[in-house]
């Protein structure tokens, strides 16, 4: 029995005159991994930012467990709500004035970070480094470690393999697959990379013109007849 975690109901978002999300509906279920795919500028990242509270939306509702509409949350409750999410940002978004240890301490002060560094396959010596000295692949691993250290209810991965070469991209995909399956965290992944979709996503939502154009099991992407989705997948491959 699937348990509903997040319900996005007729959510719209405009930037000036440009409609990015147009009465979009989406359901995210507990302990499942959902991939959101679509062309650049189709509103994938905007959708996740509306879900995690980083962006406000114009109309519609987003409910999360017992919260009826996150839009109605006060400032302090919104802060608490945001802490339910662990986010790996597109460019890792590590605080560049702080060491890796200080970055990780933002997420959890009580850890000694040995276990989490093992999980993301990094040596403990990296704790003294600064983000600017590290490659983007390593920064993304640290970003992932920081997101997981928060013990989030939802893990959001924004383009986890963008900007990485295919070998590092595959390593990151396998790493995420291992962590997602082991920890059974509800995961939302925004991606262009079909490897990520096939590797660790149970379900996939294809977003087009601000709406969900296709939703189903990731393994069924190539079976079902949706011309836009087929073109998108072919275009990428």
């Amino acid at each position: 029995m699937r348990k509903l975690k997040i319900n996005v109901n007729k959510v719209s978002k405009k930037f000036g005159d440009k409609v990015v999300l147009n009465k979009l509906d989406l359901k995210v279920y507990e302990s499942e991994s959902l991939a959101i795919i679509g062309e650049s500028g189709s509103g994938k990242s905007v959708l996740t930012k509306c879900i995690d509270g980083l962006l406000s939306f114009d109309t519609g509702t987003i409910s999360f467990d017992k919260i009826i509409n996150i839009k109605d949350l006060s400032f302090l409750k919104m802060n608490k709500y945001m802490s339910k999410f662990g986010i790996l940002f597109q460019n890792a978004a590590l605080f560049d004035s702080l060491s890796i240890k200080e970055n990780l301490m933002f997420a959890n002060k009580s850890e000694n970070f040995s276990d989490i560094l093992d999980e993301v396959s990094l040596p403990k010596s990296i704790l003294q480094e600064f983000p600017s000295n590290l490659s983007i692949g390593v920064q993304k691993r640290i970003g992932l470690a920081r997101a997981i250290l928060q013990n989030p209810e939802i893990l959001i991965l924004d383009e986890p393999t963008t900007g990485l070469d295919p070998i590092i991209g595959k390593q990151i995909n396998l790493l995420i697959k291992g962590l997602v399956k082991k920890k059974k965290i509800t995961t939302i992944t925004v991606t262009h990379d079909m490897e990520s979709v096939y590797e660790f996503s149970d379900y996939t939502a294809f977003i087009k013109k601000g709406k969900i154009s296709w939703y189903g099991k990731s393994k069924d992407i190539n079976k079902k007849g949706n011309l836009s989705l087929s073109n998108f997948v072919k275009g990428i491959n």
Partner: protein
């Protein structure tokens, strides 16, 4: 019609920006009361804005004092009023030149750095990351910087006052052959508490303006490197204009006292 529309748009833009800055400031006050304060970050910025700006403010002040002494001599010697030079130097430095010049120098140095740092954090999603890590950017980034600006500028200006007066003393005693004891006595006898105090009050206001503008423009940076560059420019330009404007308002206020 098109021209009227454009003029109207510019004015609406200015009013809307002023409104946004005021709301940004009120948010800072609100979160200072409601949320956590980071003393360690505050001290770090006190050092960055205050202590690290000492050389540039010191240099500006000493040369200003020296030039002021020379220029005053040129004018006053024409009607044999050279003895008034110490008075003019101390009054100009404490009431006007030290606060304004220190304000402008710190706006260029620290205000730009604040805008660039926060702007970069904004465009690289570091501020979003802070929010999801249960850290309010107002409390972690903006409030410590604004308070550090308010506290450190008076300190810088006070040091600038002393160095500026010393610059005038140096020129008068070494170049213009004034008696050092008489010069210092004239300075000491002439200067009043209000002269120094008004300069320090101005410094507080300028420190507030510089750090507020740096934080506001940095937080509203958009796009990539170009957006960060623009936010830095806006920060320095708006701080400089506001310093000159508020300087007039404060001078008028102290003039009536």
């Amino acid at each position: 019609m098109n021209i009227i529309f454009k003029i109207g748009k510019i004015f609406f833009g200015i009013f809307s920006s002023v409104g946004e800055i005021v709301l940004f400031f009120f948010d800072c006050v609100k979160y200072l009361i409601l949320d956590k304060f980071y003393p360690k970050i505050f001290i770090q910025h006190l050092i960055k804005i205050g202590y690290n700006s000492l050389p540039v403010v010191g240099l500006t002040s000493i040369f200003t004092g020296m030039v002021l002494a020379l220029q005053s001599y040129t004018g006053f010697s024409r009607f044999s009023a050279e003895s008034a030079i110490p008075n003019v130097v101390v009054l100009s430095i404490t009431r006007e030149l030290a606060p304004v010049l220190a304000g402008l120098m710190v706006a260029g140095r620290s205000g730009a750095a604040i805008a660039a740092e926060i702007g970069t954090m904004k465009v690289t999603e570091q501020i979003d990351a802070l929010k999801t890590l249960s850290t309010n950017p107002y409390n972690y980034l903006f409030i410590p910087r604004i308070l550090a600006g308010i506290v450190s500028l008076p300190f810088l200006v006070f040091v600038g006052d002393i160095i500026g007066v010393f610059g005038g003393y140096l020129i008068c005693t070494e170049v213009l052959n004034f008696n050092p004891v008489v010069y210092l006595q004239n300075t000491y006898n002439f200067v009043q508490f209000l002269d120094v105090f008004s300069g320090l009050v101005k410094a507080c206001v300028f420190g507030f303006i510089i750090s507020l503008m740096g934080c506001y423009h940095g937080y509203n940076a958009k796009g990539g490197a170009q957006g960060v560059g623009l936010s830095t420019t806006y920060s320095v330009v708006s701080s400089s204009i506001l310093i000159l404007l508020t300087n007039y308002i404060l001078t008028s206020f102290f003039f009536d006292l």
